[in-house]
């Protein structure tokens, strides 16, 4: 415990605790939520729009569902959103960056000019266009955000490979007659993995925020599945008279994103570097 605090500092440690707490909430939702059935979407019309009370800690929504339970269930969607967006982006960005950096020449030029096109869009707008074309839904919204996200990883991977390509051990492998795909997968990929995984872990927070924005626009998961962004939007009709409906999930998004960002800063300071100019 003390070693952890030494490494991350107090803010970083608290942020890590919050992240761990939310991961636990996501996994244990059915056992922790006070009203699991309502968390999963069952209406409870006898208690519509109740303010926070001993019975319903964070109040109830327009169908009488306990907002605390909804938020706990929503953790599942939000965290998987964040993780999957980053994973999908790596899946596209990493091969593109590796190929561009390793082969260089016209392959590099073509691939990087392609990524420039994706970076030319204001990110949320491209995600909105994509999500609208694919239709709302859990997986579609993730794909839509990943489409705007991967170029960053392509750039990062390319920069790493450019350094590694000239390393003696890579040249030795090539002289020994090792094939290109094998060099990339066995010798270069493991070495780029580390800085990229750090960056990817830090990006879960921003990814989760973007996903929340999409679901606020009605392009995320479909009801009755609980989702924070969607809850803020649904509560807007009753805002500000029934402020808790929007405010509770909104605060939750803020706290989780803040925890990821503080944790990221703490890790970055410790590592020194691995920073990315985000736009």
């Amino acid at each position: 415990m003390t070693r952890l605090v030494q490494r991350l500092g107090w803010p970083g440690t608290i942020a890590l605790a919050i992240v761990v707490l939310f991961v636990a909430l996501a996994i244990l939702a059915p056992w922790i939520a006070p009203y699991p059935a309502q968390g999963a979407g069952a209406p409870n019309v006898i208690a519509k729009l109740r303010p926070p009370s001993a019975e319903y800690w964070l109040g109830t929504d327009h169908l009488g569902r306990d907002i605390l339970s909804r938020i706990i269930y929503g953790t599942r969607v939000s965290l998987t959103n964040g993780v999957l967006i980053v994973a999908f982006s790596l899946l596209i960005g990493l091969p593109v960056g590796l190929a561009a950096g390793y082969f260089g020449g016209w392959i590099d030029e073509a691939l990087m000019r392609g990524t420039d096109v994706f970076l030319a869009f204001p990110a949320l707008l491209l995600a909105v266009l994509m999500a609208a074309a694919l239709g709302p839904g859990f997986l579609n919204s993730i794909i839509a955000v990943a489409v705007t996200w991967w170029p960053w990883y392509a750039r990062l991977a390319r920069a790493e490979v450019l350094v590694l390509r000239g390393q003696p051990y890579v040249e030795a492998a090539r002289l020994a007659g090792v094939s290109h795909p094998r060099i990339i997968i066995r010798h270069i990929l493991p070495a780029t993995g580390r800085p990229l995984t750090v960056q990817a872990a830090l990006d879960v927070g921003p990814a989760l925020l973007t996903a929340a924005a999409l679901s606020f626009l009605g392009l995320g998961v479909l009801p009755p599945t609980a989702d924070w962004g969607q809850m803020v939007d649904a509560g807007r009709k009753f805002f500000p008279a029934r402020w808790w409906y929007s405010a509770m999930p909104g605060m939750t998004i803020f706290i989780v994103a803040l925890a990821f960002s503080v944790l990221g800063d703490a890790l970055r300071e410790r590592k020194g570097g691995a920073a990315r100019a985000s736009a």
């Binding site: 420039d116 204001p122 491209l126 074309a133 009605g218 803020f254 803040l258 990821f260 736009a279």
Partner: protein, 340 residues
Amino acid sequence: MELLRYILRRMILSAFVVVGVTFLVFIVAQVVPSDPAALYAGPRPTAEQIEKARQELNLDAPLPARFATFASAMASGDFGVSYKSRRLIAEDLRAYLPATLELAVFSTGLALLIGIPLGVAAAARQGRWPDRLGSLGSIAAVAMPTFFLAMLLQLVFAQWLGILPLSGRLSREIAISAPLQMVTGFNLIDAIIAGRADVFGNALAHLILPALTLASYPAGVAMRLTRSAMIEILERRHVVAARALGLSEPRILFGHALPNAMGPALTVIGLSFAYALTGAVLVEIIFAWPGLGRYVSEAILAKDFPVIAAVTMVVTICYVVMNLIIDIAQALVDPRVALS
């Protein structure tokens, strides 16, 4: 000479990017959606209506031909007709684009106005409370969901304090009884042209909350960049010399250090403008701001793809042009940029 070559290369690259953007928008808006003809034909179309729509939209033509048609239409500013309202999209854009740009420009100005003085204060009192408070604020600004901040500001300033309007761009009384003659489409400028102080004040009051929402994140960035640039410059010799000569602290900060720390300002202008264009989708819905963001969010719900494509194109081109201008300005201010 180097500078000229750099500018030329940036312009050619931007032109290339615009072609790529057009292609991507074409693919996403016209090829990915399952059946544009059914959407175009309206609610519950018959088989013949869909067939007619297919021909009208030229959906049976090969893809390259369809792209050529799409690109030349975009280039000539013909964005087609909205599926939903059957209005010309170009006309709608003319009404909505100025509203979004006014918001973007105003929020960019606000971000600089808030962020730079805070950055100077933080650098002058390094490690003390203005510094800590500022860095706390800028971390919070990054993590705050735009749409939630917008609602909080509405709650505090419109609902509780009642000092600023809840939403809209002008009060209804003004819009109905004495509408403003549209010249530039920027209400503030049009009010000055018309010489109407009441409208100017009203438009300004409506601008503040949405602009503040959009300015919070870039203001945080402006603060951090100004702070680190100032700290570096405060240690330089000319500042030390100014101190030794006994110049007053404000004079040193604002007269000698700040002008040299203005490099980040250009970066922030670009970033803030981009953020405002993107955030417009969320903020305009909440503040009922009649701009492109609200226009496109209504189009999303109606699956009105020509509108979504047109807005994406126009906003992205604004964004590309803005980035080009910033890059060129940066190279002019600091010629080392062109050489790297």
